[in-house]
């Protein structure tokens, strides 16, 4: 694998390879404090056209833990904003002999575009509404950690599926791994012909959560309300918010996930965010592990 642009066409074997590597990183590097210099001498650039402190930091730490030189380009404050095209920017970075470029961009397909023009490995850290593969990988890692296997797992994803790259990557990845994905959200926040992705979608959140092993809330952009996609945060929470009562419908040992940051009291009620079933904290830790794994597999010295 040269790039990680998405999970759309990634096989179960490849996904499992990344997850296995992520578990190794967690055991040896993060918890075992064992030095691993598989990225020493490598340069990793984060090129973020959208603000996201947590994802950028996660990638930067992953690079540093493995001995890489990490540099960050905040695209909004650089020449990028001033008429330079994305391809020009990527070529410039490539000329500086970057080994991996981690890109986040509001346009779907932006990572695919630069992958055609650079020698570096391109890692998609979120492109428009398309994909966010490392988020889905860390979600899958967390599920596997808690549930043992992804096969046959019932995963309910709740919220703004339409605009969610997290949902899309999870759908592709989880389906490849043999999990059963069900979706729930308001009709105005469901993408067209979703059923052709092979996942059932419900407007009734309780139907989706019924018997689920994993309940995943998606972050809702509060600006969507102003665009008329739902009438109020109050009504959204009433019909689609995940709360304790709804979690009771899930499997007895179900876990609760969220890609963060959570709008408390909107997607999830406050009590369950901090409750026993919540694995939101572990997701963050596993995020670093998954990113170490991906960086090593794509750009590592013993690749």
């Amino acid at each position: 694998m040269k790039h990680l642009l998405g999970l759309k066409n990634v096989s179960a074997t490849e996904i499992q390879e990344i997850l296995d590597e992520a578990f190794r990183m967690k055991r040896e590097v993060l918890e075992g404090s064992k030095k691993d210099n598989c990225l020493s001498g490598k340069s990793v650039i984060t090129l973020f056209f959208e603000n996201s402190t947590r994802t950028r930091l996660s990638f930067e730490l992953a690079s540093k833990y493995l001995g890489a030189t990490a540099a960050n380009i905040a695209a909004s404050g650089s020449s990028v904003a001033k008429g330079e095209t994305l391809i020009d920017t990527a070529k410039t970075i490539d000329q500086m002999a970057a080994d991996a470029i981690i890109i986040r961009h509001s346009s779907s397909g932006a990572p695919h575009l630069i992958a055609e023009y650079t020698n570096a490995s391109i890692i998609n850290a979120g492109d428009g509404m398309n994909e966010h593969p490392t988020q889905a990988l860390l979600d899958m890692m967390t599920m596997q950690e808690k549930k043992g296997s992804l096969k046959g797992l019932r995963v309910a994803i709740v919220g703004d599926v339409k605009h969610s790259r997290v949902a899309r990557s999870n759908i592709y990845g989880l389906k490849a791994m043999g999990a059963d994905v069900v979706l729930a959200g308001p009709s105005t926040l469901m993408p067209a012909e979703l059923e052709r992705l092979g996942v059932p979608a419900y407007y009734d959140v309780e139907k989706a959560i019924q018997g689920a092993d994993v309940v995943m809330g998606l972050r809702i952009q509060l600006e969507r309300q102003k665009k008329g996609l739902f009438p109020s945060v109050r009504e959204y929470h009433k019909y689609f918010g995940v709360n304790e009562a709804r979690m009771q419908l899930a499997a007895p040992d179900a876990i609760l996930m969220h890609p963060g940051p959570v709008n408390r009291g909107v997607e999830l009620s406050a009590d369950i965010i901090d409750g026993d079933r919540s694995v939101i904290g572990e997701q963050v830790t596993n995020g670093v592990c998954v990113r170490m794994a991906v960086l090593n597999l794509l750009a590592g010295n013993k690749k």
Partner: protein, 427 residues
């Protein structure tokens, strides 16, 4: 100069001809059509195995002049047209500045004559500066030679202004060519809304963005008895609205473009910006409806919406890339391959859609090979397969989704007013 085209299959639907005949051209006009013609001093073109048809008339091209010559100009556009067998084009007025006054109409037409390859006609704008505020000087536009009025590139936002345009244009017997699009429904979308937009994570453009606008314009035209022509129809529901209106007797014509009968939104896969256009490529159901619309006459004409862009405007993020593809050098091939070879239209019906009907829509005396008519002629090979290669395009624009496609219907010779303006070189 006299030209004698020998042994071609003359397809001249206007005059009910579809048989092997000779065509003699003299003084720029058709002098005779018939079997075994002889002309001692004439230059002979052997058209054995080829089709000889009236030159194609394309109602919808963007030649980008004045102002946007880095994309295309009237000379390169004319060459592309000649290469595609197109002898008459209607330029859309969304240039820079827009063609909303008589001197600019004259400028475009004069440039076309200076280049001297094909008939370069133009639309003038419906509204001043294409701002949907006040009507442009439609009477003067017509007097200067505009063959239609259009705000193409943008919809006429105001329903009230559209009504006035249809009423006012009636006096001057000039058609209103409408780019039908409800921008509120488009809502920032960059491709057709459906499975592919979900799959690619791109904002979708609902089909109703077209059909709502088409329906509005039809109802207004019906009420004021205006002369409405709908541009680049792409959706099933728009076609059904047009079909129903024609049944009621509304004075209405409509065109589609070759990409709407030969491609679906699957072509956008991989974020292919050469498949990005407006209206966007739709799905199988719409392609089927477009073909049915062509077959039953709901759609009168095929026009390319030839929209050349600079490389830099396409090598971008999909949602930021410009809309449009070049079409002049592939339209006949696509028509022959996807409509005639598949048995959907006869060759004669294809020529009607690409020459006879568009000429009628703008009331331009072309599309016929009758004796005495101006000799605009295309000669093409319906049976030999050829491969599209954008690098060989005469257009400045290489933005085509058809690069590498194998098509039938390669143009051999194009003649405008008795003069050969394009001759394919045998390699």
């Amino acid at each position: 100069m006299r030209l004698l085209i020998k042994n071609g299959r003359v397809v001249d639907p206007q005059n009910g001809i579809d048989e092997i005949q000779d065509l003699l051209i003299d003084g720029g006009v058709v002098q005779s059509v018939g079997k075994n013609l002889d002309a001692a001093d004439a230059e002979i073109i052997d058209a054995t195995g080829k089709i000889v048809a009236p030159g194609l008339v394309d109602l919808h091209v963007h030649f980008r002049e004045p102002g946007l010559e880095y994309k295309e100009d009237i000379e390169t556009g004319s060459r592309a047209a000649a290469k595609g067998g197109v002898t008459t084009v209607v330029c859309m007025p969304n240039t820079s500045p827009v063609i909303d006054n008589a001197p600019l109409v004259q400028y475009v037409m004069n440039r076309g004559k200076e280049v001297g390859l094909i008939n370069v006609l133009t639309c003038g704008c419906i509204s001043k500066e294409q701002k949907s505020g006040e009507l442009a000087e439609i009477g003067e536009l017509k007097a200067a030679g505009a063959v239609g009025i259009s705000d193409d590139g943008r919809p006429v936002l105001s329903s009230s202004l559209m009504r006035k345009a249809l009423e006012y244009a009636k006096m001057f017997e000039i058609p209103v060519l409408s780019h039908c699009e409800d921008l509120e429904l488009v809502d920032g979308g960059s491709m057709n809304e459906g499975y592919m937009s979900t799959y690619l994570g791109l904002r979708g453009i609902p089909k109703a963005a077209e059909s709502v606008a088409v329906t509005r314009d039809i109802l207004i035209a019906e009420e004021v008895d205006g002369r409405l022509h709908i541009c680049h129809v792409s959706t099933k529901n728009a076609i059904e609205a047009i079909r129903a209106a024609k049944k009621r007797g509304v004075k209405l014509t409509a065109e589609t473009a070759p990409h709407y009968f030969s491609l679906t939104d699957k072509a956008c896969d991989g974020f292919n910006t050469n498949a990005k256009m407006n209206p966007p490529l739709r799905d199988e159901e719409d392609v089927k409806a477009v073909i049915e619309g062509l077959m039953d006459g709901t759609l009168d004409a095929i026009a390319t919406d030839h929209a050349p862009h600079h490389r830099d405007e396409k090598e971008l993020e999909f949602d930021l890339a410009s809309n449009g593809i070049v079409g002049l050098e592939t339209s006949l091939g696509l028509g022959v391959t996807y409509l005639v070879k598949t048995g959907k239209l006869t060759m004669s019906q294809l020529i009607e859609k690409m020459s006879v009907n568009p000429a009628k829509i703008i009331n331009f005396d072309r599309g016929s090979l009758a004796v005495g008519k101006v000799a605009d002629v295309v000669i093409f090979d319906p049976d030999k397969e050829y491969q599209v290669c954008v690098d060989t395009f005469a257009s400045k624009g290489k933005n085509s989704p058809y690069d590498g496609f194998n098509l039938y219907g390669q143009v051999e010779t194009t003649i405008t007013a008795g003069k050969i303006v394009y001759q394919r070189n045998e390699k």
